[in-house]
């Protein structure tokens, strides 16, 4: 770098000059708020009380003795795990499908982008409309085929299954885009060599395709687990966390406690738990990735 900018000092000055705006932005809206959230989580701050005091771990103790919160926490974990598994499977299926050569492949790949690009809130409402008890198309089918009440979003189990399926619908296409790129990176010679050796399709899939895509699957799996844990828009739009709290996940809980009830301290404690899970997952993911990328 000396060669480029003369002295080391000059290079450092230029570095600082260029990097400062982004770092300042992140300090102001990420680093500082994180510290603040951690601090708030140990207070009983409320928007309408001017006085607040340090309460230590009290908020966390309350949270972990609250059956409602434990249900929210466990559903959040179930939600991200089932969603991610299904998205990995469907992502791989769609990618394999779109990797075939057929007429109109370009069009099919383009259509695949639609669920990913449309605003989540719009997708959530579209599905709610499809499931409208009286006039929705899906409700009509459900009552025709199964002869049961079409109000799936009114039952805890129905709402939970619906939420996961809509989430999978929304996100599998992004998974597929990444896997498609991954599939195209697998050298064709590998398959030819395996074919010469007499390996069948199943063997080829399990000995070539899957191992080659494994690092990518781990990365994407981890990324999706973490990222879906922060999923707010879909739950807000599709079920509002209901019926009751059956489909509430952590981000919606933060929103309710913090910005609806203005219990800043309590809501921040939920935020801290969310961040802890994210960090744990991230760490685990990095270790796994090291193991799998050779």
């Amino acid at each position: 770098m000396k060669a480029l900018y003369g002295s080391k000092r000059k290079a450092l000055t230029i570095f600082a000059l260029l990097v400062t705006p982004v770092l300042l932005l992140r300090l102001a809206t990420a680093a500082y708020p994180i510290c603040r959230t951690i601090w708030l989580s140990m207070t009983d701050t409320h928007l309408f009380d001017s006085e607040h005091s340090f309460v230590g771990m009290e908020n966390f103790r309350l949270l972990f003795t609250d059956p409602a919160f434990l249900m929210i926490l466990s559903f959040s974990i179930v939600f991200i795990i089932i969603s991610t598994i299904l998205e990995l499977v469907f992502g791989l299926l769609i990618a394999s499908l779109l990797n075939c050569s057929f007429k109109g492949r370009f069009l099919a790949r383009t259509i695949n982008l639609i669920p990913w690009v449309i605003p989540t809130i719009v997708a959530a409402y579209a599905f709610q409309w499809l499931l409208d008890e009286q006039f929705g198309m899906f409700s009509h089918w459900i009552s025709d085929i199964f002869d049961v009440s079409p109000a799936v979003l009114n039952t805890a189990l129905g709402a939970r299954i619906t939420l996961i399926l809509v989430n999978v619908w929304k996100n599998s296409s992004f998974m597929a885009i990444i896997f498609l790129a991954g599939l195209q990176g697998v050298p064709e010679e590998f398959y030819e060599a395996a074919r010469v050796d007499g390996a069948g399709l199943v063997r080829r899939f399990f000995t070539i395709t899957l191992p080659m895509l494994m690092p990518l699957m781990i990365t994407m799996g981890m990324y999706f687990l973490i990222w879906q844990l922060a999923n707010f828009d879909l739950v807000y739009g599709l079920t509002r966390g209901g019926p009751g709290i059956a489909t509430t996940i952590l981000p919606l809980n933060v929103y309710h406690e913090g910005l609806i009830f203005f219990k800043f301290g309590y809501g921040s404690a939920v935020s801290v738990i969310l961040m802890l899970i994210v960090s744990a997952l991230g760490l685990f993911g990095m270790l796994q990735f090291k193991k799998w990328s050779y």
Partner: protein, 293 residues
């Protein structure tokens, strides 16, 4: 799994002679199912947006209604639609430009100026990508309030730009690293200013990545719900995403005003779809480059 195997095999076998073999038939069947599943919600939204309310409440549902634009007029009468569209456009465009501008500067520094600790700074920056937006929403709410940026478009642009910057830097760094250093060496020796180097040499070379990130960041901001929902109070800073949640709150005799919700949904969907589809290749390339390597 079975489907996967079939699909893989058809890749090998499929050519015009075999267009109607059992395998290719299955391939097309799978494709048809896939396309239908992807498009049904989209179609149902479009349909509701262009049909009259009384056609929406027919049982069984009407699949091909008479098409009209009345819902859009009615929507514009009920909410300050033009105002919301304007806000969304300003919010998304400014965010995209600001993010790309600042991220590009930072990415150049990370790619070209290496010293002890610079990788650590980059790593720390990229790691904040994993931070859940919602986890910092309470302090951000208080902070924006304290500096008078609550309920302002500038406040929204500020937090959104910051949220999108790490990913943008992450995409730009390898892109800039691919450019040979000799490109700027000569210019530096000739005494060219940093600004000239960035503007005259790197902007043209990195144009594909820049355009891709402008589009992705625009779409991200356009689709964002949480920040406008949390920080916008009045129509002066509300975006379309908040507007749709408000239209959704309304009640009509037959339940929800699905004709208006759908019309607004279509207004939100059309621009992003046109934008993404017209730049499909570039966007996908930009996205997968980092992930697959």
């Amino acid at each position: 799994m079975e489907l996967l195997i079939l699909v893989r095999s058809s890749k090998v076998k499929l050519d015009n002679r075999f267009l109607f073999t059992k395998r290719s038939l299955l391939l097309y069947l799978a494709l048809a199912v896939f396309v239908l599943i992807v498009l049904i919600p989209f179609y149902w939204l479009m349909k509701a947006a262009v049909s009259t309310p009384d056609q929406l409440v027919k049982i069984p549902p009407i699949y091909f209604p008479e098409v009209g634009l009345n819902n859009f007029y009615e929507l514009a009468k009920q909410i300050p639609l033009g105002n919301y569209i304007f806000n969304s456009l300003i919010f998304s465009t400014s965010t995209a430009i600001a993010t790309v501008f600042f991220s590009f500067l930072a990415a150049y520094a990370f790619a070209r100026i290496k010293f002890r600790g610079s990788a650590l700074v980059l790593w720390a920056l990229v790691v904040t990508m994993a931070l859940p937006e919602i986890a910092t929403i309470i302090p951000l709410y208080k902070m924006l309030g304290a500096v008078g940026l609550l309920d302002k478009l500038s406040g929204l642009i500020f937090v959104m730009t910051s949220a999108l910057a790490p990913f943008t830097v992450w995409v730009f760094v390898p892109f800039i690293q691919q450019v040979p250093e000799s490109m700027e060496e000569a210019a530096v020796i000739d005494g060219a200013k940093l600004w000239t180097i960035l503007w005259k040499i790197f902007l043209p070379i990195c144009k594909p990545a820049i355009v891709t990130m402008l589009i992705i960041n625009f779409v991200n901001a356009w689709n964002n719900l949480l920040y406008p929902l949390a920080f916008s109070v009045t129509a002066s800073s509300k975006c379309l995403s908040v507007a749709i949640t408000e239209v959704f709150q309304a009640q009509v005799p037959w339940g929800k005003p699905w004709h208006l919700i759908s019309a607004l949904g279509v207004i939100m969907v059309i621009p992003v779809i046109i934008l993404i589809l017209s730049s499909q290749k570039a966007v996908v390339k930009g996205l997968t480059k980092g992930a697959v390597k």
